[in-house]
């Protein structure tokens, strides 16, 4: 009985949230809508990153993989004339394929070695973009990437419309990512993270599952790259460098990686702080310092990330409504 109520309230909350997302562009200014588009794309990036981290490996190459999707999709569309929606899918698939190939050297490593190995692999990919001017355009990258085709009178150049497109694509992707995590495969990822030797001993091929997580995460990272490339219209090797990767790490960790929604909360909160609040306060040169300080403070004082705060708030709220003890959800930490 209570299960049902909580289920209903969960769905209700979800619907309210969805409605809020749909109305959002209507209350934002034009340039804030531009920020919203980039934010939705980054939500997919960071959510796909979390899938990767489920197996316990932290990659420093995820943004480069996003770039693989962006470059591939841009080239398919621009050089081969593939329709943009198809090229986006192909771009994402290329990113997945690249991950499959990279699995062989990278999954010989674990932990810190994997972290650095993924960084090195990413740097090599970026060097390839830089030094093979055909077809990658060298240090200046690719310009004038065809945009998403207009749907009737709806111009996909307008941030409002592209926001809705991204929202649809990203929501679907998040749904798939969520279902993967809840499925047997997702549970196996967790098992590999915490007890890889044990998992292996009961016949789980850890390499296969690590590779699967990497490929799936890379597919969605590549998709986010494709969404970016066809909106901004230009990409270059610097756009996907380790500095950008650092931001993804920051979003994930400040948000908290224990639950599916943690990294998403992280990217949303930090983007609003950095792009809207700090900019409007006019701290131009001091902005990175404030960002750095926020980062340190949140790591020190919010060890479970922002999601921990949200959960706590949720628990307090629930406790007030229903005084009987709630069942504690088993955390993965």
């Amino acid at each position: 009985m209570r299960e049902d109520i909580s289920k209903i309230s969960k769905w209700g909350l979800g619907l309210v949230f969805l409605a809020a997302l749909l109305v959002l562009p209507q209350v934002l200014s034009y340039s804030q809508r531009e920020i919203a588009v980039l934010l939705v794309i980054n939500v997919l990036l960071v959510a796909s990153y979390r899938l990767m981290t489920l197996t316990g490996e932290w990659s420093l190459g995820h943004v480069v993989i996003m770039g693989v999707g962006a470059y591939a999709s841009a080239l398919f569309a621009k050089r081969l004339g593939v329709p943009v929606p198809v090229s986006m899918f192909l771009g994402a698939s290329t990113a997945g394929l690249a991950a499959a190939v990279l699995s062989f050297p990278l999954f010989r490593m674990k932990g810190f070695y994997f972290l650095i190995g993924s960084f090195a692999a990413g740097e090599v990919i970026r060097l390839v973009w830089k030094y093979f001017s055909t077809p990658f355009g060298g240090p200046k990258g690719i310009k004038l990437i065809p945009g998403f085709p207009d749907i009737g009178p709806i111009s996909m150049f307008e941030p409002e419309n592209y926001y809705y497109l991204c929202l649809a694509v990203v929501s679907l992707s998040l749904f798939i990512l969520y279902r993967i995590e809840q499925s047997r495969i997702g549970l196996t990822f967790h098992a590999i993270h915490w007890q890889d030797k044990l998992a292996e001993s009961v016949g789980v091929g850890t390499f296969r599952y690590r590779m699967l997580a990497f490929v799936l995460a890379s597919f969605f990272a590549g998709l986010s790259g494709a969404l970016y490339a066809h909106y901004i219209g230009t990409i270059n090797p610097t756009r996907f460098d380790v500095e950008e990767m650092v931001f993804v790490l920051i979003w994930a960790i400040v948000g908290g990686t224990n639950t599916f929604f943690g990294p998403i909360i992280g990217v949303v909160a930090l983007t609003i702080i950095n792009e809207i609040i700090l900019r409007s306060l006019g701290f131009d040169s001091a902005r990175p310092m404030i960002y750095g300080a926020l980062l340190i403070l949140s790591v020190l004082f919010l060890p479970k990330g922002l999601e921990g705060v949200v959960q706590k708030a949720g628990r307090i709220f629930k406790a007030r409504k229903a005084p009987e003890p709630t069942v504690r959800r088993e955390q993965n930490a």
Binding site: W58, F112, Y131, M289, Y291, G292, L295, I296, L300, P303
Partner: protein, 288 residues
């Protein structure tokens, strides 16, 4: 031709010297605390700016400024240890992220204090040694001598003193070391001081030879990562050997091919090591 080879060798020895100071500091911090200090390049930058402030602006003697750079950056290291790495001891990833936050703060502090442009340092020592047509300036010689001196000192400290012994014990197994009655806090504080001050002194000594900018840390950290991977993470002697190896390969390839090719060779070297022997050329066992 011999002239070029000799000159290139001297260039490589110099590059090896300051890179090993930086890499050894990074390895020490990782070894004792298990955390990757992403802000290590910015500690190097802070050392360079100490020289800018004291030597260029306030006209202190150069060597005093270098000593101050060593001490100041060492203190920055203690500050990081106390406020970041100690509270995050059980959370290496959190430590990494906190060091990124610290990096951003140091960078911004340099921008606000000194501007985004390169800083200028008048040469403290003029003159050069000429050797069969090859040239080594006193300034570069100073860097080489200081690196040899400091690294030898560190080696003796780690081998011959009680604290050094305790530090190595911590690097091998922190829990076991703590059980033996070693004060982890004290050891990590000292390790952080030494690790940071090595980066700081490298920055201070090379400041007149490069053009300090608030973003200079960026270019050394990638090289430092390559070196500690090749040498084996947490392996001090390995870091020195890898720094020498990397410096020679990079310098010779730059001279005989191209600077860009040299970077590719460096990265490929690292990838090869990672794929064939992930624990590095000198690493013994795998750390998961």
């Amino acid at each position: 031709m011999t002239e070029i080879i000799l000159q290139t060798t001297l260039n490589a020895v110099y590059a090896a010297s300051y890179m090993s100071l930086i890499a050894v500091g990074l390895v020490l911090i990782f070894g004792v605390m298990g955390v990757i200090n992403f802000a290590h390049g910015e500690l190097y930058m802070a050392g360079a700016y100490t020289v800018v402030a004291l030597y260029s602006h306030l006209n202190f003697p150069f060597l005093i400024a270098v000593a101050a750079g060593l001490a100041f950056v060492g203190l920055l290291g203690i500050l990081m240890e106390y406020s970041l790495f100690r509270p995050l001891r059980d959370n290496p990833l959190g430590g990494l992220i906190a060091s990124i936050g610290f990096l951003l703060m140091l960078q911004t502090a340099a921008v606000l204090g000194f501007g985004v442009r390169m800083a200028h340092i008048k040469p403290p020592i003029q003159g050069k040694i000429e050797l069969l047509g090859a040239v080594l300036t006193y300034q570069r010689f100073l860097v080489i001598a200081a690196a040899i001196l400091l690294l030898t000192g560190l080696y003796l400290f780690l081998r011959k003193t009680k604290i050094g012994w305790a530090m190595r014990a911590c690097a091998q197994d922190r829990e076991a070391a703590a059980l033996q009655g070693i004060s982890l806090n004290q050891i990590t504080r000292i390790a952080m001081f030494i690790g940071a001050s090595l980066a700081g002194v490298a920055g201070a000594l090379t400041a007149p030879l490069v053009s300090p900018t608030p973003y200079m840390g960026h270019s050394v950290i990638v090289t430092a990562f390559i070196i500690i991977i090749v040498g084996g993470i947490g392996h001090l002697e390995g870091a020195v050997v890898a720094a020498v190896l990397y410096a020679f390969v990079h310098t010779f390839v730059t001279t005989f091919y191209d600077g860009v090719v040299a970077d590719i060779v460096g990265l490929v070297l690292m990838l090869l090591v990672l794929v064939i022997k992930p624990t590095g050329l000198f690493g013994a066992r795998e750390r998961a």
